[in-house]
Amino acid sequence: MADTNVEGSGRRVADKIAIVTGAASPVGKACAELFADEGATVIATDHKPGDARIAQHDASSEKDWQRVIAETLAAHGRIDILVQTAQEFFLMPFLEMSLEDLRGVCRSNVESAWLGIKHTIPAMRKTGGGAIVNVSSVLGNVALADAAAYCSAASGVRIMTKSAALECAAAEDNIYVNSVQAGAVEWALRAGSAGGAAAAKGSPLLGHPAVEPADVAAAALFLATPDSKYTTGMDLIIDGGHAAG
């Protein structure tokens, strides 16, 4: 397998059919572009496409998932890779949050990831397997003030990933499920609260002030190729060392 996995070879996911959600946002866009550069046919989706090449898809809607899966199978016959980046970043002090705020965050982050897994596994099982990569946040590993809802959601996606991985392994269906826990990516800067400023203040690594979307995409690619064929149920932290300290 190693000889087809030279980075930059343009062939690391050659001939694979990959769905990438959240493709209108920086991380999803970076994933879609990298996977396409490495030879995949990418079905890029988002709830606010803004671009004719991105398909309309509310990842928290079961109907939309059924439609996207059916359309992908009709056009391409298979799904090999699912990269889920669709999510909503949300910061608010605990006592200012409403129950509706919490439910909204769970819907955009946990329910979306859950629906993606649920509706993609049956398709992957029909064609011999695949790789699911859930792009979550390092705030699912370590907490931040003003981020209780988001931390709960990110943590939920992280551990759900592991459960799904165990079920797939038990079914011997050749489906690998892993997550990427990304830290301080630029969209955190948009939140504007004190917690957001703390999240965005940078990593311990000199010269690299923030995790870039391209870093997350590279990790997702690693987890979607045979380079990681003995890794399932892992959460890969990319955060410049925040969680280590």
């Binding site: 190693a2 000889d3 996995n5 030279v6 980075e7 930059g8 070879s9 592991k162 459960s163 991985a165 165990l166 392994a169 038990a170 011997e172 830290g183 990593s203 311990p204 690594l205 000199l206 010269g207 690299h208 995790v211 870039e212 870093d215 590279a218 990790a219 690619l221 690693f222 380079d227 990681s228 064929k229 003995y230 890794t231 399932t232 149920g233 892992m234 890969l236 932290i237 990319i238 955060d239 410049g240 060392g241 969680a243 280590a244 300290g245």
Partner: protein
């Protein structure tokens, strides 16, 4: 061409199965490799396997538990290849005995080889790597993350190493030196029982019982292949992983998803 073209990597324990896999995968992606170890014949074999595939490597017989030996390795690496980008602290060993049979000597031996060797290697790496920094990988094990009643002393040594990595990641950050753990599950080259396993588990029958137990505990229902761990090292040492530091990179067939 590969993602490590132009980079230079030290791999300790390059005479053994896992060390050879690290060295060969790094070389396959373009790194020049300095292998170290105690068995010269097997170390030179690693070098010749790399050269057969068009790569570059040398082997330096070294005792990684000696500070002076690390200085020598660093000097030879810079003399031969002019730079240093990665150090994979793979040299290590285990002693599997029930707690009541383990001695203080056993514990101290394991600490010396697994912790001290990697401590010295990490420190030497930080002193030798240039302004672009680099990547140190410490090879730990599942029992560093969760207790294992068959290897309390080994768990202690690898657990200490595992946590050292996290602190070292913070220490290395100002110099752009990333430090990560790779956590492999049980690996046998091509699924064969290596002689080491037979020795450690008291013969072929004991080793087979061990293998069956591991497979039963592994979600992917197979023993790992050393090149899989090598590919994880290639990713971590590449620029794609420039923001990855202080983590546990797990290559274990899914065991850590529930418990080791």
């Amino acid at each position: 061409m590969g993602c490590l073209a132009g980079k230079v990597a030290i791999v300790t324990g390059a005479s053994g199965g896992l060390g050879r896999a690290f060295a060969m995968e790094m070389a396959a992606d373009g790194a020049k490799v300095v292998g170290t170890g105690r068995n010269v014949e097997r170390g030179e074999k690693t070098v010749s396997l790399i050269k057969e595939k068009g790569g570059e490597a040398i082997f330096l017989p070294t005792d990684v538990t000696k500070e002076a030996a690390w200085q020598e390795v660093m000097d030879r690496t810079l003399q031969t290849y002019g730079r240093l980008d990665s150090v994979i602290n793979n040299a290590g060993d285990s002693i599997l005995k029930p707690l009541e049979d383990l001695t203080l000597d056993d514990l101290q031996f394991l600490l010396q080889l697994n912790l001290e060797g990697s401590f010295l290697g990490t420190k030497a790496a930080m002193q030798t790597m240039g302004p672009e920094g680099g990547c140190v990988i410490n090879v730990t094990v599942l029992s560093a993350l969760g207790g294992n009643l068959h290897s309390t002393a080994y768990s202690a040594a690898k657990g200490a190493l595992s946590h050292f990595t996290r602190a070292a990641a913070l220490a290395g950050a100002p110099r752009n030196v990333r430090v990560n753990n790779i956590v492999p599950g049980v690996l046998f080259p091509k699924g064969e029982l290596p002689e080491g396993a037979t020795r450690v588990h008291g013969g072929r029958k004991g080793a087979q019982i061990f293998v069956d137990m591991i497979i039963a505990k592994t979600p992917l229902k197979r023993i790992g292949d050393p090149p899989d761990v090598g590919r994880a090292a290639v990713y971590l040492c590449s620029d794609a992983a420039r923001m990855v530091t202080g983590i546990d990179m797990i290559v274990d067939g899914g065991r850590m998803a529930r418990a080791p």
